[in-house]
């Protein structure tokens, strides 16, 4: 065995420890409550693009490793916690690459009474503190696509999106899944150009990509969701949080349907829905990839350079 060595150098691991101290000081200084929630959750993420890893338990009860602490933290918010933050591990099956490890470190926080605009400001302040100040710019999802891919993500017919990708072999695979085509264009042409030497926030996502964000009516309606990109890397994803229990249930069921037969057996998080029913205060929340922020802070290219023992060597 020669692969027992860490893939991240010790100077990087020291910097990582320092970053975590900075994060803790940042939130302590602002009066947010640090919380902990179960890594082993009673319900999986419903998002069809997230693979929750199942845990085998001796008593046969089902559990899944969390893909983010979002469901549990919202239950705390509904219980009157006020502003909360958490530094935790998240797990996403099958996600492995230059910028992905199936186990990674996530920083998630919620601000009661805030909207996503106020929260973006705070995300920028945190990122500047740990990765250095940079100019901040704001894009709508539509303008970012129009500028970098010259295609309108809302108006372009499906055939136009397919022509943009120009890969006939993918047509039968992705079919009429508009969001999958948009995701590919985003990965290939848009995100690499975002956040070069700056912080680029993208807002107003298509309603079909709202996830857990509120929708803002309009023509077309858009999701009050944002993402932060730095040096082409997706660093954070946040929402002006959906608090309506019926709409949340509807989205959960639609997402479960989208998973096909495999999804039918998955339980919906009824405890989250009950918490929303009891009443979650209006709030904005964000999840930030700590490993990637450290990569950006140090100018490193691969997640393995900031993580001691990546998946193959875990």
């Amino acid at each position: 065995m020669t692969d027992w060595h860490p893939t991240a150098g010790l100077p990087v691991l020291r910097r990582r420890a320092a970053l975590i101290r900075q994060v803790r000081a940042f939130f302590d200084g602002r009066g947010l409550l640090e919380v902990e929630t179960p890594l082993m959750a009673g319900a999986p993420a419903m998002d069809p693009n997230l693979d929750s890893l199942a845990v085998r338990r001796p008593d046969g009860r089902r559990a899944w490793l969390q893909t983010s602490p979002e469901y549990a933290m919202k239950r705390l918010l509904a219980a009157g916690s006020g502003d909360i933050w958490q530094l935790t591990r998240a797990f996403r099956g099958g996600e492995r690459g230059r910028h992905h490890n199936p186990e990674f470190t996530l920083l998630e926080w919620y601000r009661v009474g805030w909207d996503h605009h106020a929260l973006m400001q705070e995300v920028a302040e945190l990122a500047a503190e740990v990765a250095g100040a940079r100019p901040v710019e704001h894009w709508t999802y539509r303008d970012a696509f129009l500028t970098f891919a010259e295609v309108d993500p809302f108006e372009a017919p499906l055939a136009r999106l397919q022509a943009q990708v120009d890969d006939p072999l993918l047509v039968p695979v992705l079919g009429d899944d508009r969001d999958a085509w948009l995701d590919l264009i985003l990965s290939r042409e848009v995100s690499p150009r975002l956040g070069q030497g700056r912080m680029s926030f993208v807002t107003d996502f298509p309603a079909s990509q709202a996830a857990l964000a509120r929708l803002r009516p309009g023509e077309p309606p858009v999701a009050e969701r944002f993402e932060l990109f730095m040096d082409g890397l997706e660093i954070a994803n946040g929402y002006h949080e959906l608090a309506a229990p019926r709409e949340q249930r509807r989205r959960f069921l639609a997402e479960r349907d989208a998973r096909g037969p495999a999804g039918a057996a998955l339980p919906v998080d009824e405890r989250l829905l009950a918490a929303l029913q009891a009443g979650m205060p209006p709030c904005a929340g964000v999840a930030l990839g700590v490993d990637r922020l450290l990569m950006v802070a140090l100018g490193l290219e691969r997640i393995d350079q900031v993580w001691a023992f990546p998946d193959e060597q875990a």
Partner: protein, 189 residues
């Protein structure tokens, strides 16, 4: 037929695409946090050597290519086929000239070669990195002539032509690097 999921993709994996065997040169996983994951790969066609880009939706499966790398001894050529032998089993295989390609000019009978087998048939034949070949034809070195950079062409017993120093004479045994096609030195016999 065995299948590989994109989750198993990595450099060196042999897969079938459009009826041809390919090797994965580079595999990049891309995924917007809440979005669809893709594997963007560079693959090399094992028949033609051509490298192309392909994008797969993550979770897709592709057929595995039954490709194996072996060391075989080159026996002889009958003009159409190059006959190779497995030194352990003594099993022989005939590689078409197209599989040998440019390597033919380095192949000397008895030499060990790297043979890529696809469905048990030779797909490509690679010569050893270094071969020892005798000079069959070269001009006598002319003292003081530096106009040709101090070198001259020499034809070797397999037909390959390499640049050699002026002092090399016909009948000498030379060591040649087949990857660069360059003269390395004389072999003392």
């Amino acid at each position: 037929m065995a299948q590989y999921s994109t989750n198993e993709f990595k450099g060196g994996l042999k897969i079938m695409l459009d009826g041809d065997p390919y090797t994965i040169v580079e595999n990049e996983f891309v995924k917007p946090g809440k979005g669809q994951a893709f594997n963007r790969v560079k693959v090399r066609n094992l028949k033609t050597g051509k490298v192309i880009d392909r994008t797969f939706k993550s979770g897709e499966s592709v057929e595995a290519a039954d490709v194996m790398e072996t060391e075989m001894q080159y026996l002889y050529s009958d003009g159409e086929f190059f006959h190779m032998m497995d030194p352990q089993s003594f099993e022989q295989k005939a590689a078409p000239a197209s599989a040998v390609g440019d390597a033919a000019k380095w192949l000397k009978e008895q030499d060990m070669c790297t043979v890529i087998l696809w469905n048990d048939e030779p797909l490509t034949v690679e010569p050893p990195s270094f071969v020892e070949l005798r000079v069959t034809e070269t001009d006598p070195g002319v003292r003081g002539d530096t106009s040709s950079g101090g070198g001259k062409p020499a034809t070797l017993e397999t037909g390959a032509v390499v640049r050699v120093p002026l002092f090399i004479e016909e009948g000498e045994l030379l060591k040649v690097d087949t990857r660069s096609g360059e003269y390395v030195g004389r072999v003392k016999s």
